[in-house]
């Protein structure tokens, strides 16, 4: 089901762990959708000197976490801010379509960690983000039925293909 690159990052995840006194921390996800990811940053001269992650999630969530840390490590903050979910999915040479949402988490966690670093520098305190507990379809422009994975129209509350009610998801 997963390709070799994904399995390699799942089996031997890079940069696992916690950075004590991290300069920036970003946490995304919730148990409802199955994944929680935390990214820790150590910043030096506006570059990501060190990066570590912790993830509760499936094979692809762990592989995505590993890959985003590998891509981001050593990058300038300016470059790191441009990293997107697509970059992670591409570096992993593709993910099954029902797992694409995992790749969102990787880039989101990184961006949150960078924001957290910049907020600290600027002395800004943000309220704890409210965890979204609804199905989201931000991967690309397409939305897939969470039950049968068929492509569906954004915002519909019923999947014609598998007859599932999607009211809870939208």
């Amino acid at each position: 089901m997963y390709n070799k690159t994904v399995m390699d990052h799942f089996r031997n995840p890079r940069n696992v762990g916690v950075i004590e006194n991290a300069d920036g921390v970003g946490e995304v996800g919730n148990p409802l959708c199955g994944d929680i990811m935390t990214i820790y940053l150590k910043i030096k001269d506006d570059h990501i000197e060190d990066i570590k992650f912790q993830t509760f999630g499936c094979g692809s969530a762990i592989a995505v976490s590993s890959m985003i840390t590998e891509i981001a490590k050593g990058k300038s903050l300016v470059d790191a801010k441009h990293l997107t979910n697509k970059d992670v999915a591409k570096a992993l040479e593709g993910l099954p379509k029902n797992k694409l949402h995992c790749s969102n988490l990787g880039a989101d966690a990184l961006q949150l960690a960078i924001q957290n670093y910049e907020d600290k520098l600027a002395g800004v305190t943000r309220p704890e983000p409210i965890r979204k507990e609804k199905h989201e379809h931000s991967h690309g422009e397409k939305c897939y039925c969470p039950y049968c994975d068929i492509e569906i129209q954004e915002g519909i509350t019923f999947c014609d293909a598998c007859q599932s009610s999607l009211e809870d998801e939208h």
Binding site: E27, P31, T55, H101, Y147
Partner: protein, 391 residues
């Protein structure tokens, strides 16, 4: 490389004796049982032998009460839709439970859109339906009660006999989805008081793609497939004779070896349950301590996600299944596990360990050792473990 199959709920191996009769059947190249010439009669006799073996396993009054199908899913669809359509003049209300298989849930969803109403009963925290709830849910409009015999995710069995007494007294047709029970535990349709019982051949170590439905004589039900008069006019279409012959053999062996198998399975289950605390900590057993199948243990391991565990065990050549949302294609945690009151995070860490006659005590030892390492590895990565376990 030998893979240890602890995922019998997904597929059981064909028994050698079953494989043998199926190969013989292919080589014999049977004619159509519906034909009246000698070749046809030979095929009819083989079909009849299989039907008798299956009827004996379930203690049917006559082999005519067995209808062979393409598997558990077809049987369930046949039972539910066939009864609904044949009895809609009497009423349009059906009772079921919150933990049924998708074959039941989606059949009923289909009927709902044709004007049937469905009452879906909750289970208690141990995963069982209360017979009293069934009695209270029956109205004058109720035509069918469909409650599974055992749950495929937890192995917990339901009080079918008690519900059967209620449905008989209230004269409501009673179907039980026994796809994971028939062949694993003794099943007696007289004792259970069911009118319809769905089963799958693979559960008896027969071929996948074959199953059947027990239909008590006198039950009002329409066929799901219309066409010829096969299966006593209850299921049209030329029979999958090779598969049915394999099923007949599997039924014969299940009846012959039932006691021996039960002892073996119980030994393995006890071994898992007693050794698990020595391998890992912080887990929940979802399987009922008393009312459950002997061949399945469902555990929710805290702070880690099931698909990751499954993949890492796969690397050690151990096959298990998981009920985490991620692995099932749906992004939502299993309805069965949530019905038990598990949190979403705990439900995500669920493994289903299901075993069979081909497993040994050594397999369980290998599994538990591997599980210990996998759980340690994944908890080291998990942010939940660091946070919550230290609270």
């Amino acid at each position: 490389m030998k893979v240890i199959n602890l995922d019998h709920i997904s597929a059981k191996p064909l028994l050698p004796e079953v494989k043998e009769v199926m190969i013989e059947a292919i080589e014999k190249d049977y004619h159509n049982p519906s034909s009246q010439h000698k070749s046809g009669e030979e095929a009819t006799a083989a079909l009849q032998k299989a039907r008798e073996a299956m009827a004996a396993l379930l203690n049917c009054k006559t082999p005519k009460e067995i209808v062979f199908t393409s598997g558990g899913t077809e049987s369930v669809n046949h039972a539910i839709k066939g009864v609904a359509l044949a009895n809609e003049d009497k009423g349009k209300h059906i009772i079921t439970s919150n933990i049924e298989h998708n074959a039941v849930i989606r059949s009923l969803r289909r009927l709902r859109s044709s004007g049937f109403t469905v009452t879906s009963l909750p289970v208690d925290s141990s995963g069982r339906v209360k017979p009293k709830d069934v009695a209270e849910a029956i109205t004058k409009d109720t035509i069918l009660v469909s409650i599974m015999h055992s749950n495929n995710e937890t192995g917990t069995t339901q009080p079918i006999e008690e519900i059967g007494k209620i449905t008989r007294e209230r004269k409501v047709i009673f179907h039980s989805d026994a796809v994971d029970s028939v062949g694993v535990v003794p099943m007696d349709v007289q004792h259970l008081g069911v009118d319809l019982l769905s089963f799958a051949s693979n559960t008896l170590y027969g071929p996948a793609g074959v199953g059947g439905l027990f239909i008590r004589r006198g039950t009002r039900i329409f066929p799901l497939l219309d066409g010829g008069v096969q299966e006593n006019n209850k299921r049209a279409g030329a029979e999958n004779l090779v598969g049915i012959i394999g099923t007949g053999k599997a039924a014969e062996l299940a009846l012959r070896d039932m006691d021996k198998r039960l002892i073996h399975l119980k030994t393995l289950k006890d071994q898992i349950l007693s050794e698990l605390p020595h391998a890992i900590d912080e887990y929940i057993i979802n399987t009922h301590a008393e009312h459950s199948l002997p061949n399945l243990v469902s555990i929710s391991i805290k702070y880690i996600e099931g698909e990751s565990v499954m993949l890492m065990l796969d690397d050690e050549n151990i096959a298990v299944s998981t009920r985490s949302a991620c692995a099932t294609g749906s992004l939502r945690a299993s309805h069965v596990l949530l019905s038990l009151g598990l949190s979403h995070a705990d439900a995500q860490g669920t493994l289903v360990i299901s075993f069979g006659v081909d497993n040994s005590k050594e397999d369980i030892v290998t599994f538990l050792n591997a599980l210990k390492n996998v759980v340690t590895t994944l908890r080291d990565i998990s942010p939940l473990y660091q946070k919550e376990s230290q609270l």
